[in-house]
Amino acid sequence: MTSNLSKYSECFKSAFELPVDADPSALKYQGIENWDSVGHMSLMSELEDAFDIVLEMDDIIDFSSYAKGLETLAKYGIKFDQ
């Protein structure tokens, strides 16, 4: 079974078209070319589809990095067991 953490990472890779072996864990909003405002919304859609949630605008605005997003998703009841 795929862990939530790897599912979460896959969303970044898919939204930002990263290579399969990329490590997205240090990514920040506007830190790479593809994570611009439109890429941001692609990421939000990927996450919503993968975790079957609907993100609120304030959480979308606060979603400033990979790390910050883990906290955001935790609010929606997604558990990231290491």
Binding site: A15, S37, V38, I60, I61
Partner: protein, 467 residues
């Protein structure tokens, strides 16, 4: 008078004009900066600016208008290769807001932080009228075909928009669209012309800095493309109703009926207006609008022509009638119809007589109350997030023999022969346009369907993507 080409009234030059970089600037401040630039611009030479919602770009824009220097206004997303081609075709004397790295080794010398000048650039023929602006139609591909916008076009469209939106000096606008986009520019022109204030901003709606500006400066007007409203709709309803806006406008493509109704409701509950509008660069910016009091009964309509404009429908007999209304190509007429295209210095001049009509390329009908509805497109342009993309250009410039592009409101679908590798197709599309790869959806086919005369069968491709 520097600001006069736009018809800006300077009753009180100490009025707040624009907020930029953390401070307010008055009309007098903008006037002074525009004057400074105007002395550095040689009349009847071309200027070129990379757009940004900044005080400096705005001042330079006004300076170009006042010095009769046709201004090529480009988005800030173009690659160096594409910018180079514009420079070659239009030989601008003034470049504004370019990266200093770009200018290294060129004939352009920086005069200050933003303005670079090439002293060898040609001065244009005195015998002919010049356009005020030269605007790209297909923002992201390298088609160097620019719409020639005259001073009269700009003045008349600005005046019409102010009239139907009833903008006043009390309006305060937050920029949410690029300066280089005709819709974004029209918001700036209209607000300046009534002595209103502007919050010059390049942050996106998903950036907290944007919302800090909204809560601190309380803008009253905001404009958006469908994508803007899709994003706004993610706010909770209560939050949307509490926003300071009194007028929301929408253009740049068709917003879903569901969202039109939703924002009509939001606006009604917050004593605001939500106004759907329709336009094209070839009409300077705007052709029609849906008055707010008709929004709930005419959902999906582009409304009625702007003051001083009119529509006719060039009926196509082969199209079925909709509720007994004949359908055909929407044709616009008005003083804001622009003067054709320029692809180099040789065809930059405004040739009289002014064109009377603009064939919009949209299929439409008019209902019995006089409201217009668009039902599809004739011409091969995609419109994604407000960016118009010529599908024909995309196909021809990709350098790939066997591809065919169609689009919906979200993606460009690229049908390609399965003998081509998807990665190869994508790389080629990206290198010949400035579009991000997420815009493209690749569909491999054994062969591209063609009709008897060998032309690509686009209707059959369109039916595939709508399945």
């Amino acid at each position: 008078m520097i600001l006069s080409p736009l018809g800006i009234k300077l009753n009180n030059t100490s009025d707040l004009c624009c907020f930029y970089g953390g401070s307010w600037f008055t009309y007098e401040d903008l006037y002074s900066l525009a004057s400074h630039y105007s002395f550095l611009i040689r009349p009847r030479t071309v200027s070129l600016v990379v757009g940004a919602n900044s005080l400096h770009v705005l001042a330079f824009y006004l300076a170009c208008l006042s010095r009769n220097s046709p201004l090529v206004l480009l988005p800030n997303t173009l690659s160096k290769v594409i910018l180079d081609r514009y420079l070659l075709d239009f030989y601008p004397r003034q470049l504004f807001n370019f990266d200093s790295d770009y200018l290294i080794g060129s004939n352009y010398k920086l005069q200050d932080d933003y303005l670079a000048v090439c002293h060898d650039a040609p001065t244009l023929d005195q015998q002919h009228d010049l356009p005020a602006l030269l605007l790209p139609t297909s923002g992201s591909t390298g088609t160097r075909k620019l719409v020639k916008v005259s001073f009269d076009n700009l003045r008349s469209n600005t005046k019409s928009i102010i009239e139907y939106l009833r903008l006043t000096s009390l309006s305060r606008h937050i920029c949410s669209l690029p300066f280089s986009y005709t819709y974004g520019l029209s918001c700036i022109n209209t607000h300046l012309s009534v002595g209103a204030s502007l919050i010059l901003n390049d942050y996106s709606l998903i950036d907290s800095c944007f919302w800090d500006l909204v809560s601190n400066l309380r803008p009253t007007t905001i404009s958006g493309v469908p994508y803007t409203y899709q994003t706004l709709a993610r706010f909770k309803r209560d939050r949307l109703i509490s926003l300071p806006f009194t007028q929301y406008t929408q253009a740049g493509g068709k917003l879903s009926s569901k969202l039109v109704k939703y924002f009509y409701g939001i606006a009604s509950d917050s004593s605001a207006e939500f106004i759907v509008m329709y336009g094209q660069t070839e009409a300077t910016a705007r052709m029609s609008y849906l008055p707010f009091d008709s929004s709930s009964t005419k959902v999906g309509s582009i409304g009625v022509p702007i003051p001083s404009g009119s529509f006719t429908i060039d009926v196509f007999d082969e199209l079925p009638h909709i509720n007994s209304h004949p359908c055909g190509e929407l044709v616009y007429s008005g003083p804001n119809v622009t003067h054709g295209y320029a692809s180099s210095l040789s065809d930059i001049y405004i040739v009289s007589p002014a064109p009377k009509f603009l064939r919009t390329g949209d299929l439409a009908f008019q209902d019995s109350d006089g409201f217009y509805f668009i039902i599809g497109r004739i011409s091969r342009f995609a419109k994604i997030n407000g960016i118009r993309i010529s599908l024909d250009d995309l196909e021809s410039q990709s350098g790939l023999a066997d591809i065919a592009c169609v689009s919906d409101d979200n993606y460009v679908y690229v049908f390609h022969s399965s003998t081509l590798q998807p990665s190869e197709v994508l790389a080629s599309l990206k290198s010949h346009s400035s579009l991000p790869s997420r815009v493209f959806r690749l569909v491999p086919l054994d062969s591209i369907p063609r009709n008897d005369s060998g032309k690509v069968d686009y209707p059959s491709l369109n039916s595939r993507i709508s399945q």
